[in-house]
Every structure is written in structure tokens, then in C-alpha cells.
Amino acid sequence: MKAQHTLLLFTLAATFSQMASAQDDSYGALPARPFTQDFNARGIAGLERLQEDSVQAACNHFAPRNVVQALEQAQLAAIKYPADGKFLGDWKGGEKIAQKGGGMTWSDKAGAENGGNCYNCHQLSKAETSFGTIGPSLNQYGALRGNSPELQKYTYSKIFNAKAYNLCSTMPRFGHVGALTEQQIKDLVALLLDPESPVNKK
């Protein structure tokens, strides 16, 4: 068993060393996994979702560091910033978005406003005791870091596309894939940075 596992990893690593010089897009062109034929499209969840994109492929197949860095830079360059140059919305709206789960599953309707699912993985407001631990605690996020324009932009960017900073992060690319709107992300930035937000209260 262990030998087989090692062999598998070795094969994948060899595939990647051959491909390291190829364009980023070639990762998405890797053979579809053996399970594609085992699925049916349902609701808004079409079969195209099974196909890994270049970022997913790089993480699924242990891409070398230079490929990972190039993809991070491409993800960063693709972030769309608000036209009005403002990053801070309303923290009260942000708290509601952070509380709301679901979105983009086959049981969700097309065009429905998605939740941020933030509390599924992060601690935010102290008052909410039902929080997950997949991501780090964000309680006191702004209190510890301030509220500078640079920090506002970074925070917006991180929510828009966490993969721009850590390619194989567990966090979804909420703005990049259109799961959250520009206004929703602004509200979440305010939830994290506004001194009046419960996130930053003692």
C-alpha cells in the first residue's frame, strides 16, 4: 500500500516536472478524473464544475513552486476593485452576510443572493459562539491591525480571492467566482475593520 502511494505521488510529481515550463492553462487541460461519468448535472451545478481549473490543478497535482507563484500573481492581477475606490461598506450588512450559509449548491436557485459562510470557518463577533475553526479566528481583526487604506485594499482583495495570496488556501475565491457581489465584500470589509463592528469590540 505504502509503495503504491509513493508511486502515485512520484508519477504525479513527474507529470508536473514535465509540465513546469508549460503555460498555466495547461493545468486545466490535464485528463479529467475517472469520476466524470459518475455524475449528473443538477440545478445550477453543471458537469463543467468537475473539471479542475488551473489553480485547482496546481494544488491537486503538487505543482512546483515557480508555477504556484505565477498563478498567485495571475489571480492577484485579476482582482476587480470597486470603481468608486471605496472598500468600506456597512458592518451590519456584513454581519448578516457572515452569518448566512449556503449558496451555489444544486439546491440553491440561480441568481439567489449567496451567503458568505464566514462563521462556518472563522470566529468573528465574540457574541456568536457558533463558529467554525477551519480558518483562523478573525476576532479583533481591525483592532489589531488598524484601518489604513492599504489594509482596506488588502482585506477586500483577500475576500475577493484568497488564492492570490496562498494558492492552495481552503478559502473560496468569493469575488473571483462571483459568489459574493462587490457590495457584499465591502460590507464584510467593514465587519472586519470598522471600529464599531462587534468583531473589534472587547
Binding site: 500500500m1 503504491q4 502511494h5 502515485l8 478524473r33 475517472p34 469520476f35 459518475d38 455524475f39 449528473n40 448535472a41 443538477r42 451545478a45 453543471g46 458537469l47 464544475r49 468537475l50 473539471q51 479542475e52 489553480v55 485547482q56 494544488c59 491537486n60 451555489m104 449548491t105 444544486w106 439546491s107 462563521y119 462556518n120 470557518c121 459562539t129 457558533s130 463558529f131 467554525g132 475553526t133 477551519i134 488564492k163 481552503t170 473560496p172 475565491r173 467566482v177 459568489a179
Partner: protein, 271 residues
């Protein structure tokens, strides 16, 4: 037989108490565990075990045959101990099969049921319990107290295990989720729900298998491992896996073999 036990007042009162947001995480979990211990002495899933035992013996389907000649891997008609040794390779089908898939196969081959019909509504819904769910609960109950023992000596099973491991770690979909996104590390939670590390052999991996098939108090119906994995793919934002597909069997092979040596306590109860 299929009455909605959720209507029992004690259960409903408890379910309502889960909804009380003021309660702390630990208090809710502790209360549920106490309740589960009480309930497991008289688990509603046992009703389905009994129904499944009758169904197993009954002459049913277009061929008016029973399932008593169904081979679950230990020879035709041997049910005891079969569940904890599946998934396994079945030469007559040329496939690795998990218990529920094998039961469907027997219903098709021995009784003449249509596989397509059985796949139309494969999971319990609105008071309806599919026959394979009832039957697999009976079969599972016949392995109560036995150790999980999925052999990977057969090359087909070994291959299914590797495929399952690959699928477990495969990120895809709009949220980039794999099974490992939530179940690949120790000590994690989603909201207040504990997330076992299913890539870790032994007790942690057993948490994927233990208690299934399950009587689920939310809604009050019987659900199987096929359903459990189906709903994981929904939450992963992927399309829907086909009922009894190689993908589900491969994942169940990975998860179950990771739990080898752990004692299976029989069909259970979930909140």
C-alpha cells in the same frame, strides 16, 4: 412501520431546544450525547432492521424471488458479518461494490427489479423509505459488534482505494472544495459541528462509517452512507453523483478501509 417518530413529543421538544441560540456549544453537544445514549437503547433504526429482515425473505419483484440467495461476499445467503467486509470485489458483476450497491445488484439480478427505477428516488423523502435503504439497514445490523475488515488483497479493491483517496483530495467546483478541505485535518469544526479527519486511519476514519445507516431525527427518516456522500458532494458545490456509482464505491472503499479494525456498533441515530 414508517411512522414519523419525530412526532413523538420528547424528540420534538429536544429538537426545538437545539434551535435555542442562547445555549452554548458544549451544552448542546452534551445534551445531544446524553439523549443519543438514551435513544440507542431503543433506536428507531431497529424498526427498519426488522422490516429489512422480513423484506429479505419475502418473494418480491417481477421474478417473485427472495434475496436469500444474494451473495454479499461470504457466499449465497450469508448475511452475518458481510457488511463490515464491504466494499469488496464481486467477480459476477466485475465491480467493487459497497453494501447498498450490492443489494441493488441482487434486487436486479434475483428479483428482476429495474436498476433505473431504483435510482429514481434512492433516498428517503417525505415519509417514503426506499427498499434498498431498509435492506441495507438489516444487513448492517447483522454485523453489529464486529470489526471493520476491508481487505485490499484483491487488486480491484486496492485500485478502488487509491481512486477513492484521489477523489477525496480532488479540489473542484466554484468553491475549490475537496473532501479534504473539511475532513483532512485534526480537531476542526464547521460552526459547532465536529469534522473528523477522515484521512487518518483508525478511530477518526471510523466516524465516517459509525452510526450509518442512520435514523435522522431532523425530518425523522432513514438515511444511508450513499446518501451521506451524496450530500457531501452537494455541499462541495459539485454536480450530483449517480446512485451506486464507482465514484461513491471508491470513496467508501477509502473511508471504510481507513477504519479497519474499528468495531461497528450497528445502525445508529443522527441529529
Amino acid at each position: 412501520m414508517k411512522k414519523r417518530l419525530c412526532e413523538m413529543s420528547a424528540i420534538c421538544a429536544l429538537l426545538m431546544s437545539f434551535g435555542a441560540a442562547a445555549q452554548s456549544t458544549d451544552a448542546i453537544t452534551k445534551e445531544f450525547e446524553t439523549y443519543r445514549e438514551l435513544m440507542e437503547a431503543d433506536n428507531p433504526a431497529e424498526i427498519y432492521e426488522d422490516a429489512g429482515a422480513e423484506m429479505w425473505k419475502a418473494k418480491r419483484g417481477p421474478k417473485q424471488a427472495s434475496l436469500e440467495q444474494c451473495d454479499l461476499g461470504l457466499g449465497p445467503g450469508v448475511v452475518k458479518g458481510a457488511y463490515v467486509q464491504m466494499p469488496r470485489y464481486f467477480a459476477d458483476a466485475g465491480k467493487v461494490m459497497d453494501a447498498e450497491r450490492r443489494i441493488v445488484h441482487c434486487m436486479v439480478m434475483l428479483q428482476g427489479f429495474s436498476e433505473a427505477d431504483l435510482a429514481k428516488q434512492p433516498f428517503s423523502k417525505d415519509g417514503y423509505t426506499p427498499d434498498p435503504s431498509t435492506l441495507v439497514t438489516y444487513v448492517a445490523g447483522q454485523s453489529r459488534g464486529m470489526k471493520i475488515d476491508v481487505s485490499r488483497k484483491q487488486s480491484q479493491v486496492a485500485k478502488a482505494y487509491i481512486t477513492g483517496m484521489e477523489i477525496f483530495n480532488y479540489r473542484a467546483g466554484p468553491y475549490d472544495f475537496s473532501c479534504a478541505s473539511c475532513h483532512g485535518e485534526d480537531g476542526k469544526r464547521i460552526r459547532t459541528q465536529r469534522l473528523p479527519n477522515l484521512s487518518k486511519r483508525g478511530e477518526e476514519a471510523m466516524l465516517a462509517i459509525q452510526g450509518w445507516p442512520a435514523y435522522r431525527m431532523t425530518g425523522g427518516y432513514l438515511l444511508t452512507l450513499q446518501w451521506r456522500l451524496n450530500d457531501c458532494f452537494r455541499q462541495q458545490r459539485l454536480p450530483e453523483p449517480k446512485y451506486g456509482s464507482d465514484t461513491i464505491t471508491a470513496l467508501l472503499t477509502y473511508l471504510t478501509a481507513n477504519a479497519n479494525g474499528q468495531v461497528y456498533k450497528g445502525p445508529g441515530i443522527k441529529r
